[in-house]
């Protein structure tokens, strides 16, 4: 959502709108490449029942119309070249630094990779309750601990307790109460 200082409404989505001309130009080039490739692929699809029901018809239409929109975006950016970029539309408090964002993406990537790779699992009854400790539980405890250590800096025992407690809660809620399988 974006709105003015006086609470005037400018759109439903936060921060969406005009970017710096160079940013819009970059987006336009990316979109032209994407839509060009998409349309090219669509052109190559088989046509078992004539052009009216061709599987590539709508993809081709979508690709070409996206390309036209990207061209207009590029043109708009070109016309605005040299103008001062509008003020950032998202408040500074939510703008993390790039390094911390990369670290976060890295931790999440390793988390998902490990979850899909680990085949280890323990299953059994504890106090009459069927419990599972599989890839989801192990990797989630480690991931939550790592993220809290990186972004919160709480005491280790608190971090470990929160990570284990929350993982156990999710595991029991989904596996035992709602009978929904979890990864691993």
């Amino acid at each position: 959502m974006s709105q003015s200082d006086h609470g005037e409404f400018a759109g439903e989505d936060e921060g969406a709108g005009y970017a710096a001309p160079s940013v819009d130009m970059f987006a336009a080039v990316l979109l032209i490449l994407l839509s060009g490739w998409y349309s090219w692929e669509a052109w190559g699809f088989r046509m078992p029942g004539g052009w009216r029901t061709a599987p590539g018809l709508v993809p081709l239409f979508a690709g070409l119309s996206l390309m036209a929109m990207a061209l207009v975006l590029g043109l708009t950016a070109w016309r605005r070249r040299g103008q001062t970029a509008p003020a950032p539309a998202v408040d500074a408090a939510t703008q993390g630094d790039a390094l911390r964002t990369v670290m976060l993406i890295g931790v999440l990537f390793v988390y998902l990779l490990a979850m899909g790779s680990i085949t280890f699992g323990l299953r059994g009854y504890v106090g009459g309750v069927y419990l599972v400790v599989g890839a989801f539980e192990i990797t989630t405890i480690l991931c939550l601990s790592a993220l809290m250590r990186l972004f919160w800096n709480g005491r280790l025992w608190i971090i470990a307790s929160v990570a284990i407690g929350w993982t156990a809660f999710l595991s029991v809620t989904f596996r035992n109460i709602f009978q929904i399988s979890l990864p691993g």
């Binding site: 959502m1 709108g17 996206l66 993390g96 709602f178 990864p183």
Partner: protein
């Protein structure tokens, strides 16, 4: 209707509704956790429930979370949900004068009334829209889906609708991956078996609204200042009666904007706030921006009336009124309920069940809101970085549980990264979801329509008057957007944002 109420008033569904409303209020109150995020993440939980439980739970969360945003907006000057920004402007000014509790009381009463207006308009207009919707055939359905994506694009990015349309079109590109529904030709699958069934839109939804938010907010480490005391909270229905005209007007604005695809609670609350300011008495207008109860009524009535309004296109046409309604649609689809023009034939009594569930959720919201304000203040002192960290595994479960596929989890992660990139480039993300959901409708119906039109003259196509009207509407959306684009950034209100959510 009575049967539906009897069903919803069963102890289990009442407990579930109360739990859902409470969860929604707490979720909405926590800065950074939006209504759509709540709805998207809880789709997975609803898959483990039977149909009626899933509907009651999701509608209750929806009702609760739209109000919840007002709590943090008033008390800590951060809107829990984006639609609470007007409430923040007015409510926090009142809180600084020691009237925070009263401001929240007014917000609760406004939300309660707003929900009623939304429900009443939904009940009044569903038969009309349904009788009209039965006239829609392939050509009309294809155009309607295109209108949904295009309007959503325009509404999501008011300053530059072109970016909204591009986002919607990106959603279309994603949705066309997989087997073509008519000839079963593989499209953009590259031999990957997981892509043959297409991209799971629940994963895209969770990625765009859950993972993107985590990636954006978690590294910032921002923490709000928590107030020591709230003051007396009495939902002031008597005070609200003084602003009854504003409440009625805002209710209609909220419900109508909810019925327009893409125009969610944000559009509703800002539009109502703006119109309210223009129409206020000089005495009241002087208070606007410095702590006006009438302004809170305008914003809260409108964003809650939006819930009922958003159900109108969702239930009758299968076109979600906003991103939160899209999540509800996904939850329904996972429970084998495909809503649309034939809803009354396919699922007799379902509409009445929706009415009953919305009414019960609204009543419970009123009770839960009063009780949960003070616990929410305690929750504000929890580090936001911890809260967002704890959402990570919920997002993973949400994406995984639909098809029990790790591939979908990766799709969710990739969608989060793409959402982050798009936000950096100042593109809206909501139209992508509508594009992903509605593109299959365009794909199948457009090709069917072309077959029907084969060998017929243009005059035959023009005789399909509903389709012709829809086609003109579609062209009008693009023309209006392009005219807005022509005015350039100077004519658009693209200025810094005050809050977030």
């Amino acid at each position: 209707m009575i049967d539906a109420f009897v069903q919803v008033l069963s102890p289990w569904l009442l407990v579930l509704a109360f739990g859902g409303v409470s969860l929604g209020i707490v979720w909405g109150a926590l800065p950074g956790l939006s209504t759509t995020m709540a709805m998207a993440l809880l789709i997975s939980l609803s898959t483990g429930m039977e149909q009626s439980s899933a509907i009651v739970f999701m509608l209750s969360v929806y009702t609760g979370s739209v109000f919840g945003g007002a709590i943090s907006a008033v008390l800590i000057n951060i809107p829990g949900t984006p639609d609470a920004v007007p409430t923040m402007i007015e409510g926090h000014a009142l809180a600084l004068k020691g009237e925070g509790g009263q401001a929240l009381g007014m917000a609760i009463a406004g939300s309660f009334v707003g929900n009623w207006v939304g429900i009443l308009l939904l009940v009044a207009f569903i038969p009309l829209v349904l009788s009209f919707a039965l006239m829609f055939r392939s050509w009309e359905m294809a155009l309607l889906a295109m209108i949904g994506i295009s309007i959503c694009g325009s509404m999501s990015c008011g300053a530059m609708p072109l970016k909204g349309w591009i986002a919607g079109w990106l959603g279309i590109l994603v949705a066309l991956v997989g087997f073509d529904p008519i000839h079963a030709v593989q499209r953009y699958t590259f031999g990957v078996p997981e892509l043959m069934d297409g991209v799971n839109y629940v994963s895209v939804l969770i990625g765009l609204f859950g993972m993107t938010e985590i990636l954006k907010v978690l590294p910032s480490g921002a923490q709000p200042v928590v107030p020591q005391a709230v003051g007396r909270v009495i939902p002031s229905l008597r005070k609200l009666a003084r602003h009854s005209v504003a409440a009625a007007r805002s209710g209609v604005i909220g419900a109508v904007s909810g019925a327009i695809p893409g125009a969610g609670a944000n559009v509703a609350s800002f539009l109502s706030y703006d119109i309210g300011r223009r129409m206020a008495s000089p005495e009241e207008k002087a208070k606007w921006g410095k702590g006006s109860y009438e302004a809170i009524v305008c914003a809260e009535v409108a964003n809650n009336a939006n819930i009922g309004g958003s159900m109108l296109p969702t239930l009758t046409l299968g076109i979600p009124g906003n991103a939160a309604a899209a999540s509800l649609l996904a939850a329904l689809a996972l429970n084998n309920i495909v809503v649309g023009p034939a809803i009354e034939v396919d699922y007799p009594g379902l509409i009445y069940f929706f009415y009953a569930a919305l009414i019960v959720a609204n009543l419970l919201m009123y009770v839960a809101a009063i009780g949960l304000i003070k616990p929410c203040v305690k929750l504000f002192s929890l580090p936001r970085s911890v809260l967002l960290t704890l959402i990570v595994p919920i997002a993973v479960i949400g994406a995984y549980s639909v098809r029990l596929s790790m591939f979908d989890v990766w799709v969710m992660f990739a969608s989060g990264l793409i959402g982050l990139g798009l936000r950096a480039l100042k593109f809206p993300v909501a139209p992508i979801v509508l594009g992903v959901i509605l593109a299959p409708m365009v794909d199948e119906n457009l090709r069917r329509a072309l077959l029907v039109f084969e060998g017929r003259a243009f005059s035959f196509i023009a005789q399909q008057w509903v389709g012709t009207v829809l086609f003109i509407a579609l062209v009008a959306i693009f023309v209006e957007g392009l005219l807005r684009l022509r005015r350039g950034p100077a004519g658009a209100a693209a200025k810094p944002v005050e809050g977030q959510g």
